[in-house]
């Protein structure tokens, strides 16, 4: 592979608008919260984009309660492992805990008792896309 080769992988940042658009194309993302002296807590969640915030459902007494007082991160991505193309978006922000008010959100694991909505208000949104040559994959078609 030589410089300028069209098959050379490229990495480029995504605009904030693209980040929000892509976040809405996948059903599952992951949240992370720091745990003092231990590995961070990571949970996959079924999320939705609501305006300029991310919402997902959780149950009472969740391990995510740590996010009531600490920063939270949300990440979603999609990739094609054969074309070596993909994107990833990271949202860092603060979580607000709300009670379900009829919003239609699929919880990751069953609905029973999961009547708390966590809303992530972003402080920082960034994303990047990796592609070899022309981007041909369908962002909504994976994961």
């Amino acid at each position: 592979m030589t410089p300028g080769d069209p098959s050379e992988p490229t990495l480029r940042p995504l605009s904030i608008a693209d980040c929000w658009e892509l976040l809405a194309t996948v059903p599952v993302g992951r949240v992370a919260v720091a745990v003092e002296g231990e590995a961070p807590l990571v949970l996959p969640v079924n999320h939705r984009v609501d305006g300029q915030s991310i919402v997902f459902r959780t149950g009472p007494g969740s391990k995510l309660d740590a996010a009531r007082t600490q920063p939270i991160a949300f990440q979603a991505d999609a990739y094609d492992q054969h074309l070596h193309q993909g994107w990833s978006v990271l949202v860092r922000g603060l979580a607000a805990f709300e009670t379900v008010d009829g919003q239609h959100l699929e919880p990751w694991a069953g609905a029973s008792g999961r009547n708390t909505v966590v809303r992530i208000w972003p402080e920082h949104v960034s994303g990047r896309v990796v592609s070899s040559g022309a981007l041909v994959w369908d962002p909504g078609g994976y994961l």
Binding site: A32, A39, P40, V42, F74, H82, R92, G110
Partner: protein, 237 residues
Amino acid sequence: MTWGRPPHLTTGTTVAEACLELLEGRVGHAEVRDGARLVGIVTTADLARVPEGAAEQTTLAAVLAARRPGAPRPFSPTPSDHRPYGRTARAVDPRGMTIDPRTWLEILGTETCWELLEATPVGRLAVVTENRPEIYPVNYVTEGRTVVFRTEVGSKLAALDGNPNVCFEIDGLDLADRSGWSVLLQGRAKTVGTPAELKELHALPLEFWSVGDKPNFVRITPTAVSGRRIHPHAPSA
């Protein structure tokens, strides 16, 4: 078959044939199609649940049907396998999988977790810098019971120097029946330093997709590995 590519099988494929396909392709799951239509995804965990003697006769259609809520469950543990577990009775199968019959939440055994880790090319690394968590996707490989990835000198690595406690996550979603799985690996990350180790790591089939030189190898040694698969317990509304 392309390495790492989930094979497309038909509903009439037998479990024995599917096991061979997954072994040859070194992947953890296969897409099951009826003509061009994707009707489900079977994983090694699904196939492992079929008794060995029945693998030649059981089709993938039967494997998928057995996963549906309310379906007769020919491969589920027999009542004699039920035993009290905590405050609720759970079914425990001999391979170490635990299935809660109410939510169809399946706790994946350690072996299944590692099978999924071996079959997945991209994971997400969660690191914490000054109490702020960040998550990045990484191309990785497993080596022994560790996870190895490459990184350039940058924020990911800087965070690891300050706080080596990391969480590594992979997940997958079966869009056909809304079941999903995830594996979490908590551990400590360390940049690999010795020349002998580096030589070994350069020989690993670790590909990376993004640009730039990624001279550093980082190894995560796990302190805990856990996984779960969530089966939909009610039909879609």
